[in-house]
């Protein structure tokens, strides 16, 4: 009797195969494209990975979504709208070669401040939250803009970069939705505290 994978004519047609085949292709694509960042696909890949490769950036992006979800419905969606636009502005300034002082300090502080806001359940008016997030977004954008690789396709790099940032916000929002349950609120506050600690570690150059 033939197995499912044999009858399908595909050696990896079974359940594990279905998962493994794309993984193999992805792995192969990765090793091949690691040679260069040129071209649309290279730009998209490096742009997408860029915000994900720095822990200080990752925790701050997640904190934006988390704080937004914690502040309520309006903020949950307003902050992730504000952040990418202001961040891109900071990135554009950096691409144009305009310097900004204390960028790394600003990024580390973003983790500390946003994490503490969540941990201490501080709920400022929406516009105040928007200004705070906007200020930190400039630092993050500037750092990313300064580090943008010359070789990448700018458009696809920007697409990957913005999508990854947005997805990190969505991770924070998803985590923040746990506020529906009492234990969830505690978990979120612990998450906020963890983000603040990571921010402190970056601030004092421990990480």
């Amino acid at each position: 009797m033939k197995t499912k994978s044999e009858t399908s004519g595909c050696p990896s047609g079974g359940f594990p195969g279905k998962i493994l085949s794309p993984a193999i292709f992805l792995a192969l694509a990765n090793t091949a494209s690691a040679h260069t960042e040129k071209g649309a696909v290279g730009g998209l890949e490096s742009g997408f990975l860029h915000p994900l490769t720095g822990l200080d950036h990752v925790v701050a992006m997640v904190a934006v979504g988390l704080w937004g979800a914690f502040l309520g419905k309006k903020a949950m969606w307003a902050l992730p709208v504000i952040f990418p636009m202001v961040m891109a502005l900071g990135g554009a300034v950096a691409v144009l070669g305009v310097p900004l002082p204390f960028v790394e300090t600003g990024i580390a502080l973003s983790g500390v401040v946003l994490g503490l806001m969540v941990a201490l359940t501080i709920r400022p008016p929406l516009w105040v939250a928007g200004v705070i997030v906007g200020i930190f977004a400039v630092f993050h954008g500037h750092a990313h803009g300064t580090e943008l690789p010359e070789a990448a396709s700018p458009l696809t790099y920007a697409i990957g970069f913005v999508i990854a940032t947005g997805l990190l916000h969505l991770c924070g929002i998803a985590f923040g939705l746990l506020t529906k349950w009492p234990w969830g609120t505690i978990a979120i506050r612990i998450g906020g505290a963890a983000i603040a600690v990571i921010g402190f570690l970056f601030l004092f150059k421990v990480l």
Binding site: A40, V81, I82, M85, M87, A88, P154, A158, I159, I163
Partner: protein, 192 residues
């Protein structure tokens, strides 16, 4: 008729699939051009989130202006709109979508003209048999306009749900961010 070998290399950023008809090869062109995708998405989001939905006028204007843009490439005008032009239009579209207020019809029509002409100019074919070029362009034109129509209606269907409305605004903000970065890159390249 399959696309001829000469044309394969002369389609501007076109991906030509061997064995596919010229119309089909023209139709897939916008989906392999990131700048065009961003403009298409931005325009569809803006049109679709208008309440009440007013698509007839804008889509007629878009169809006409994209046909004019494609026609201009035949007359020897610029083959390929510069990426800053397309992303500049996308920036406006994304900003208006992200802000979330109603947009006057005149502004929407103006943006449709700008987007249509630019997309058309960016989809030209440099050389080839006239019949082949016409078929490729027809495919691109149909694809551009049907894609906008479909995405606009899909966006409009989502406007009943509050989370989807905010999702549309977030997508608009992403388009703004992408466009800003690309424009900065272009400015730096021109300055260098």
């Amino acid at each position: 008729m399959s696309i001829d070998g000469n044309l394969k290399s002369t389609l501007l950023g076109h991906v030509a699939v061997e064995g596919w008809s010229d119309i089909a090869n023209g139709a897939i062109h916008p989906f392999f051009n990131p700048a065009q995708i961003v403009v298409l998405l931005g325009l569809a989001l803006l049109l679709g989130r208008q309440i009440p939905l007013r698509v007839k006028g804008p889509l007629i204007v878009l169809a006409a202006s994209s046909a004019i843009g494609l026609g201009l490439t035949l007359a020897g005008f610029s083959l390929g709109a510069p990426i800053p032009v397309l992303t500049g239009i996308a920036l406006f579209l994304g900003m208006l979508t992200a802000i979330g207020y109603g947009v006057p019809d005149a502004v929407i029509l103006l943006l449709c003209v700008a987007a249509g002409v630019s997309l058309g100019l960016d989809s030209g074919v440099e050389k080839g048999e006239p019949v082949t070029i016409a078929k490729v362009m027809a495919g691109t034109w149909i694809s551009l306009n049907l894609t906008i129509l479909y995405l606009t209606l899909a966006t409009s269907n989502a406007t009943g749900k509050p989370w989807a409305v905010t999702g549309i605004r977030i997508l608009g903000s992403w388009i703004v961010a992408i466009s800003l970065l690309v424009l900065a890159f272009a400015l730096r390249s021109n300055g260098a």
